[in-house]
């Protein structure tokens, strides 16, 4: 009865680690597979978290797992196939690695939208156009954000919905976390440079979470961040490497041209390209946004369309850190429940 207790978790980001520690604590044999050299996933790229500016490192440290008798961690394991044979799942990467498990938990996370695809925004062409992730990197390093020539920016524009809610990018869904990230980063810029003007260009502000609106209020009240309702159409570069933005101020109903020293693109979350590979040889399915499809988005969000495979975190849809952690605990609970029901049947 105790043999069938092997669980493989793909992805050792915060979702995978959190689920791994819960399940290992319950006495299951967990194998945590990570494609990168180290665990932590995408959160490694972040400096501070919304809405409270707490350190992402703190979260990473809290969820950090270490190998024990119930938990083994394999890094550099880029799982590309899941096959079910004789009631067991066989997971393999492109080399010789093979892992067997009775249950699989997908915690593969997300990819960031490649901002070079939105060529009209000039990422990769104009040096002073950066992404929200580039900004986090600067912030994490403890340095101040400067223009390419090392100067203090007088004006920074933050662009919402880059690669989200955009049919031209192939992503029609909302990435959900960018709006609040934009507000957070606007505040962080003004904290670095109190004299710097910050403008956020948005289509709709979607600040759905607890305490998000108070951050919005704070940005306006204490940091004079301005919000312009209009989608950026294109950026051009002036002779002095400064940037010129074109958008419409839709509330005014007039096209707007603005010079800015730095533009931050809030890049959206995308499903991982490898998701499609993982769907081969089983009945896993992807939804219309290429994330893993849930059996039911209300009561079975963590349950995939393949019996025996569960999901946690932002491989289901874009999620914030707290949602991810809740999602993985919920997944761990369902995994445990699934094992128990099998045992009862037996």
């Amino acid at each position: 009865m105790t043999e069938k207790r092997n669980i493989a978790i793909i992805g050792a980001g915060i979702a995978g680690q959190e689920a791994a520690s819960v399940l290992a604590g319950l006495g299951y044999k967990v194998t945590l597979l990570e494609k990168q050299e180290r665990m932590g996933g995408m959160l490694n790229k972040w400096s501070k978290l919304f809405p409270d500016f707490s350190s992402s490192q703190q979260i990473l440290d809290t969820v950090q797992v270490s190998a024990n008798k119930n938990l083994s961690v394999i890094c550099n394991a880029d799982i590309s196939s899941i096959t079910k044979e004789n009631g067991r799942f066989e997971l393999s990467d492109n080399s010789s690695l093979k892992v067997y498990a009775d249950l699989v938990l997908l915690a593969t996370g997300y990819n960031l939208f490649d901002a070079t695809l939105k060529e009209e925004y000039g990422y990769g062409v104009f040096e002073n156009v950066i992404t929200s992730v580039d900004f986090e990197k600067v912030h994490k390093s403890g340095k101040k954000l400067t223009t390419l020539l090392g100067k203090e920016p007088r004006r920074v524009a933050i662009i919402h919905c880059v690669g989200s809610r955009d049919a031209k990018s192939g992503n029609t869904y909302c990435s959900k976390v960018c709006c609040i990230t934009g507000v957070k980063q606007a505040i962080e810029v003004t904290r670095m440079w109190p004299d710097c003007e910050v403008f956020n260009f948005y289509m709709d502000l979607r600040l759905y979470g607890s305490k998000y609106d108070s951050l919005y209020l704070e940005a306006q009240k204490h940091h004079k961040v301005q919000f312009i309702r209009g989608r950026l159409s294109e950026i051009s570069e002036r002779q002095d490497k400064g940037l010129q933005l074109k958008a419409e101020d839709t509330l005014q109903g007039r096209p707007l041209r603005m010079n800015a020293d730095i533009v931050i693109l809030l890049v959206g979350m995308e499903a991982c390209e490898q998701n499609a590979d993982l769907c081969r040889n089983n009945t896993l399915d992807l939804d219309e946004n290429r994330f893993f499809k849930s059996k039911n988005i209300h009561y079975a969000r963590n349950i995939s369309t393949q019996p025996g495979i569960f999901m946690a975190g932002s491989c289901i849809c874009p999620m914030s850190v707290n949602e991810t952690l809740e999602s993985s605990r919920s997944a761990a609970f369902l995994v445990d429940k699934s094992f128990r029901s099998v045992q009862v049947e037996e």
Partner: protein, 615 residues
């Protein structure tokens, strides 16, 4: 009494001739005065022979279809040329039998009905040869019947739908030659005047039934089928047979399509044989659009029921025009219809005011679309800066559109306003060269702008010339490239080599099956105003899948619209030719370098990681 059997044939024939003469008079009357003079000159001069030769090669031998599709070509040739020879040789045979230069037409057609002796000079030879020709025609007919039901055997995915006039004509056409075979065979059985085929079939008929009884009804049926065919012809697709001859004569006279419908449009429309080759070439079918292709456009014009939904649902890519065996100008024809359709609502653009031009040797016009591909603009700027060209970037901040998108929508008069405005600006600059980096702009600047003393060059040409003259140095960067021919540049302007030559200086340009005039459309064309974005993606993917199969390092194109369309497909890295160049520029000529320190600098630059070549 004996002549009664030829009456259906003669009535049909007479009706056809009257209609044809009436149509020809109408067509010629509908031409402009200059075109009438052109036509008159051409049929009295040397061009006459060319027209006759072309009629023979295309309308009878169907040379172009042969080249494209030998089976389809044989089908058309055996029917057209075989029938033609049957008429000519049959006439000769009758002349021989009658010992007269002048024999009535129907006498020749029903020769074996009238001629019972079979006793004249070379009669044996004629009987054999006529049978051979009949067999030739019948073999073509067999192909035609098979094609109707099994089009895939002909390498065609689809064939055209029929209307009632076509059905009558088609049925009677299919009946003509089998009935002729049977009628002549009964004659052969009764009079023993047949060749190898008719005698043989006659023998069989004799064996099964009584040829003397079948003889008369079969000949009447043959005459009826001919009569029906001729009578139905003017209202069927077979009208293309006589019209194509008129088309060839008019084309060779130098008559061209105007910006409005005239009888030359009509002649082209009626010349369409509805062979369906254009359907096969059209990429819209991958998006499930199956009612707006050229053959349907022509049909709708003919039936006067062309809707905007169909008229504007076309990429205007020109793939259909390349392969049209009749040489119908499908794209220009559609443009004319768009002009007619939108004539009532052209724009005046009264707001255009003359901005002050900047004096420069070279004007650069990036074009509207290029402003959404800033990497193209920054690469152009880098090249201009490297060679030290004095350039005025005309539309850097703002400028009217070039006018080509309006033209594609049929708004010629509106486009002229933009053209006038831009022309004045360019001429005021005093430049000798206008560089454009968008094929859509290039086409209109070349064809519709009047810019005396200003050379309009496409960026690929311009850069290639810079390199050839030694003003710009590029390094071989060893890329394996697939080059996508933009429609407006390739089929639109015939420029296939300049971009390839330029890319060839830096890497390998992979040869492909569908390239140059057969290149795919990227799907993004401004020519199509009705297609949805999702449908565009299906067209794009068709091209991308083909390009992917050559596993290149990069897909290179020379059009901002193609670039954006392909890039959104996310299947491979997409660059404009100028980006490839900008990533391969050598700062200095290596042979000029004298001290070793500077040489190091050059090397460092050459291998400096550049956004555009760092794949």
């Amino acid at each position: 009494m004996e002549n009664i059997i030829s009456i259906p044939f003669l009535v049909g024939m007479a009706y056809l001739f009257i209609v044809l003469i009436f149509r020809c008079i109408k067509w010629i009357a509908g031409l402009s005065k200059f075109d009438k003079i052109r036509l008159l000159k051409s049929i009295t001069g040397r061009r006459l022979f060319q027209s006759i030769k072309e009629t023979f090669m295309e309308a009878l031998l169907h040379r172009k279809i042969f080249r494209k599709n030998p089976v389809l070509g044989y089908m058309h040739m055996s029917l057209a040329f075989g029938w033609f020879l049957l008429i000519v040789v049959g006439h000769l045979e009758t002349m021989m039998a009658e010992h007269s230069m002048f024999v009535p037409f129907h006498k020749a057609v029903f020769f074996r009905y009238y001629e019972s002796s079979g006793d004249f000079y070379l009669s044996g030879f004629f009987a054999f040869f006529m049978d051979l020709l009949l067999l030739f025609v019948l073999s073509g007919l067999m192909f035609a019947i098979v094609k109707r039901f099994r089009k895939k055997l002909f390498g065609l995915r689809r064939t055209t739908r029929l209307k009632s006039g076509d059905k009558i004509a088609l049925t009677s056409l299919w009946l003509i030659f089998p009935l002729r075979l049977l009628a002549e065979s009964t004659s052969a059985a009764v009079y023993h005047n047949g060749g190898f085929l008719t005698s043989g079939v006659g023998f069989v008929i004799d064996f099964i039934g009584n040829p003397a009884i079948l003889y008369y009804p079969l000949w009447v049926a043959y005459s009826l089928s001919l009569g029906f065919f001729f009578a139905a012809l003017p209202n069927s697709r077979y009208m293309h047979i006589p019209t194509e001859v008129v088309f060839i004569f008019m084309r060779n006279a130098g008559i061209r399509l105007k910006k409005q419908n005239d009888s030359y449009t009509d002649v082209q429309v009626f010349s369409c044989s509805r062979c369906g080759i254009c359907l096969d070439k059209c990429q819209l079918s991958v998006a499930g659009i199956d009612d707006s292709q050229s053959v349907y456009l022509l049909k709708n014009i003919r039936n006067k029921n062309l809707s905007d939904e169909k008229l504007f649902n076309c990429q205007m890519c020109g793939r259909c025009q390349i392969d049209c065996p009749v040489g119908i100008e499908t794209i220009e024809l559609r443009t004319v219809q768009r002009i007619e359709s939108t004539r009532d609502y052209n724009s005046s653009y009264d707001y255009l005011i003359q901005e002050i031009a900047t004096k420069a040797d070279v004007v650069y016009f990036a074009g509207c679309m290029t402003h959404l591909t800033p990497r193209v603009i920054s690469s152009m700027k880098k090249i201009f800066a490297t060679v030290g060209e004095g350039v005025w970037f005309m539309d850097e901040v703002k400028a009217p559109c070039c006018g080509r998108p309006l033209m594609l929508a049929g708004q010629y008069e509106a486009a002229r306003k933009l053209i006038e405005n831009n022309s004045r600006m360019i001429l005021d600059s005093g430049a000798h060269t206008l560089v454009v980096s968008c094929p859509i702009c290039y086409k209109v600047f070349k064809e519709d702008y009047k810019l005396p003393d200003v050379e309009v060059v496409f960026h690929a040409q311009y850069i290639d010339a810079l390199i050839a003259s030694g003003r710009l140095m590029v390094d071989a960067i060893g890329l394996r490239m697939v080059y996508h021919d933009p429609c407006e540049l390739g089929r639109g302007m015939g420029m296939y080599e300049a971009p390839r030559r330029l890319l060839g200086r830096m890497g390998e340009v992979v040869h492909m099956k569908d390239e140059k005039e057969y290149a795919y459309c990227c799907g993004g064309s401004l020519g199509n105003i009705k297609i949805t974005e999702d449908e565009r993606k299906l067209l794009r993917n068709q091209a991308l899948v083909a390009y992917e199969s050559y596993s290149p390092d990069v897909l290179v194109t020379a059009c901002p619209k193609c670039k954006k369309t392909f890039a959104a497909g996310r299947k491979m890295k997409v660059l404009d030719v100028v980006e490839v160049v900008a990533g391969a520029i050598l700062a200095e000529k290596p042979q000029k370098v004298e001290n070793p320190l500077a040489e190091q600098d050059v090397d460092a630059l050459a291998f400096a990681p550049d956004m555009t070549c760092n794949l």
